[in-house]
């Protein structure tokens, strides 16, 4: 139990997976669940950044709502009855992970983030051993023009964490999304090589928040755990920044 579980004037109760839990006004379902150690898979969500709602892995059932709703961006309300998992939801989540694997070239064996990748971990946790949909094998470029970092589009899942951290925390807004649909790409400025960007401050936050091996620091190896540690240190900072904005 964390301090957030103690009833205050701003708290209320709701049900998650059949258990009554205490929530604070303004918390999302995901935040409440995390406070109570109820695991909901996420990918595009990162504490401290504005919820995106794009990966659809945190979809939950809410009694009375016809549709599945993303836990990251749905506010918890009093007497809500939330179900975070069911055979149906699990099947959908697995399919979404398979779709992600099929979309670009995720070859774990040659990836610097092997063993330190959120997509890989999700697949392992969900027991995804096969991808049932056809692979796309797109031809994608790797942007190594930056002195310190590398952007490998082959490993990108379009979670836009880098876009959000660059705009919301660093305030540089170097990263953006170009193209549409299946051709969407993370771009720098107006689709320039990263190394030629006038706005990039080389702060490296985008690399820290990247869930896969799409954004990496040059010179790191696949056994390098620095990235993970760095990411851990960043979280409280992100949270603090957001709290300050509230």
């Amino acid at each position: 139990m964390t301090h957030k579980s103690i009833p205050t004037p701003d708290s209320f109760t709701l049900r998650i997976d059949g258990t009554d839990v205490v929530a604070q006004v303004g918390q999302s379902i995901l935040e409440v669940a995390q406070d109570h150690n109820i695991g909901i898979p996420t990918l595009c969500y990162l504490e401290g950044l504005t919820p995106w709602g794009g990966c659809r892995l945190c979809l939950v059932e809410i009694k009375g709502s016809g549709r599945l709703l993303p836990a990251c961006s749905t506010l918890a309300t009093e007497d809500m009855d939330v179900t975070t998992t069911s055979p149906r939801i699990e099947r959908y989540r697995r399919t979404i992970v398979e779709l992600l694997f099929s979309e670009r070239n995720h070859i774990c064996a040659v990836c610097v983030s092997n063993g330190n990748c959120e997509l890989q971990t999700l697949a392992q946790e969900m027991g995804v051993t096969h991808v049932h949909v056809p692979y796309r094998y797109p031809t994608l470029l790797v942007d190594s023009s930056h002195d310190g970092f590398r952007l490998d589009h082959n490993r990108c899942v379009m979670c836009t964490r880098c876009v959000r951290v660059c705009e919301e925390i660093e305030g540089a807004a170097t990263k953006g999304v170009g193209g549409r649909g299946i051709d969407s790409m993370i771009i720098n400025d107006l689709n320039e090589p990263w190394g030629e960007s006038d706005t990039c401050t080389s702060c490296g936050k985008c690399v820290s928040v990247c869930p896969t091996g799409a954004l990496t620091e040059k010179g790191t190896t696949f056994a390098d755990m620095a990235k993970r540690r760095e990411r851990r240190e960043l979280l409280p900072y992100l949270t603090q920044t957001r709290e300050g904005r509230r």
Binding site: G53, C108, H130, H132, G181, S184
Partner: protein, 549 residues
């Protein structure tokens, strides 16, 4: 301007129009224009001038008359004669015959079901007034509902009237309009907005374009009434840039309304103020989705965001925002003029009023129609449209565009209303109706719509971005006789996942064309399948490689 001055203007304009012995209405909506209506209009104007008939004869560019398959159309007032397929060569003959018998060669029979079976509310002025003159609209009673609303009714009463009318959103989903207005009216915010969604994007749909091109003031009046009802002072019309004529006429209409004090500060000398601005869409289909549309108006990338919160509470720049479709707003003035009771007497129990459809496909007559809700599909296809010519046989009718479905012949007697169409796996949609004959292959049809959804997906959420791509690949494979039974199963599975997990309406409804064709024309899929042994389970050797770190 005061309401009395409006009545005065209306009387003057009617007298002016009655001063003419003849009025020749030339359809100047996009379809007739593309087949030469502008030349016909110019020719008529010159001929009338040369004959010295300018005092007697008015040549008027009018809006869409509906029967696009017979364009260019010219209608004669007060003779009530309709000429079809008019070319420049026919002009002398028409002018010659003005005081005698009409030209038999060009006559279009107006007693056919195409004209007789329609019920016009939204299109009541379409083809009868000059969309480029506000005086024409005022002469037929335009802006009178607004005057009554502002001087005699409370905002609550206006909302209640719309609730009582049973009007539902004409953009496709059919959400009760009155309920939406009520939510925005109750929402608190320093500023509120009214948005008209004119980002019509379904292939084969042109209802909103026709309304905007034929009667733009009607939409402005509806928006202004809505603004009064919900407490908004600023409105936006989000219209796609591919509709240059509609944009031009809207711009003109807004200027004219401002000139007469029907927009801006102190409308009708009351404290109420309201301004409408135009925002152009840059060609993204997804911007017809309300949250993406709002993002686009705000200047951002046109991406949807999760709802709730709904725009009614948290919309444009975080303020309560009312978003309705063009046709919904076009109903408003008529409802307040004739009363909610009159409106709710038309249609079925749950679907009130009329619906405008754009009819396309191999039909004897096609174009724009407005029919009462509850009419059967058979009546539309075989009576109004006159069936399929040259002995072709009817196969299916597609409603709702890429979000809709294909309805086979055996369900032709279904009533056209929101619930019945949904039960069949189609939707009412915004009003596109495409008829297909036996030459259409339904796998190909499904593939076409899936390709549309794939290219129009914004890419924000995974199931729509990758799912539509994968479904298109599978459909392509099946169509090219390379798909297996397993591919078909996979296609059904993906349909479910994409429908249930996508972020916005685009992805949630993208599987509809596949689902409905699978439901009614499964044999067309199955006859194209090859046996399982020919290819591996997914046709891809690497798919079998186990993924471990």
């Amino acid at each position: 301007m005061t309401p009395d001055e409006l009545s005065q203007l209306s009387v003057e304009e009617r007298e002016r129009q009655q001063g003419f012995e003849h009025c020749l209405n030339v359809c100047t909506a996009a379809s007739c224009l593309s087949s030469g209506a502008e030349e016909v209009k110019k020719g008529l104007t010159t001929a009338v001038k040369e004959k010295g008939l300018r005092e007697k004869c008015r040549i008027r560019g009018a809006g869409c008359m509906g029967l696009c398959s017979s364009g260019p159309l010219v209608a004669l007032d007060p003779e009530d004669v309709l000429y079809q397929h008019v070319g420049v060569d026919d002009v002398p003959e028409i002018v010659e015959s003005l005081d005698t018998q009409p030209v038999p060669r060009l006559l279009c029979d107006t007693t056919i079901p195409f004209f007789q079976r329609q019920k016009k509310i939204v299109l009541e002025n379409s083809g009868r007034i000059d969309p480029e003159r506000i005086e024409d609209y005022i002469a037929v009673g335009g802006y009178r509902s607004l005057a009554r609303v502002l001087t005699e009714m409370d905002p609550d009463e206006v909302v209640q009237e719309i609730v009582n009318s049973g009007l539902r959103g004409r953009g496709g989903a059919g959400y009760p309009t009155g309920l939406k207005w009520g939510t925005v009216a109750k929402a608190t915010g320093a500023e509120k907005y009214v948005i008209c969604n004119a980002d019509e994007g379904d292939p084969g749909a042109f209802m909103d374009r026709a309304v905007l091109e034929s009667d733009p003031h009607r939409v402005l009046e509806g928006m202004t009434i809505a603004a009064y009802a919900v407490g908004a002072t600023q409105g936006y019309i989000y219209v796609r840039a591919e509709y240059p004529l509609a944009i031009k006429r809207l711009r003109q209409a807004i200027k004219q309304a401002q000139r007469l004090g029907l927009q801006g500060d102190r409308i009708y000398e009351t404290p109420f103020r309201f301004t409408v601005d135009i925002r152009l869409g840059a060609g993204a289909f997804v911007c017809g989705e309300e949250t993406a549309l709002i993002a686009s108006i705000e200047g951002g990338r046109g991406l949807p965001r999760p709802r709730p919160p709904y725009p009614a509470n948290h919309g444009l720049w975080g303020c309560p925002t009312l978003i309705n479709n063009v046709e919904t707003f076009a109903n408003v003035a008529a409802i307040l003029r004739e009363g909610a009771g009159w409106f709710s007497s038309i249609g079925t129990e749950k679907s009130k009023g009329t619906k405008v459809f754009s009819l396309a496909g191999p039909l004897s007559r096609y174009g724009l129609i407005e029919v009462p809700m509850g009419i059967s599909l058979r009546e539309i296809v075989f009576d109004i449209a006159g069936g399929l010519p040259d002995g072709k046989s009817f196969k299916a009718v597609q409603t709702g565009g890429p979000s809709g479905g294909c309805i086979p012949a055996r369900h032709l007697d279904t009533s056209v209303d929101y619930e019945s169409l949904r039960e069949l796996g189609a939707i009412m949609g915004s009003g596109g109706m495409i008829v297909m004959d036996e030459s259409s292959n339904m796998v190909d049809v499904a593939r076409f719509f899936m390709e549309f959804c794939m290219t129009e997906s914004c890419g924000k959420c995974v199931p729509c971005r990758v799912g539509t791509y994968q479904m298109h690949t599978l459909l392509d494979r099946i169509y090219n006789r390379q798909g297996t039974k397993r591919d078909l199963e996979l296609l059904s599975e993906l349909c479910e996942v994409v429908r249930e997990t996508s972020l916005c309406g685009l992805g949630q409804t993208a599987p509809n064309p596949v689902n409905s064709t699978l439901r009614y024309f499964r044999d067309e899929y199955e006859e194209r399948l090859v046996s399982d042994g020919v290819r591996g389970p997914s046709g891809d050797p690497l798919a079998q490689v186990e993924m471990t770190p």
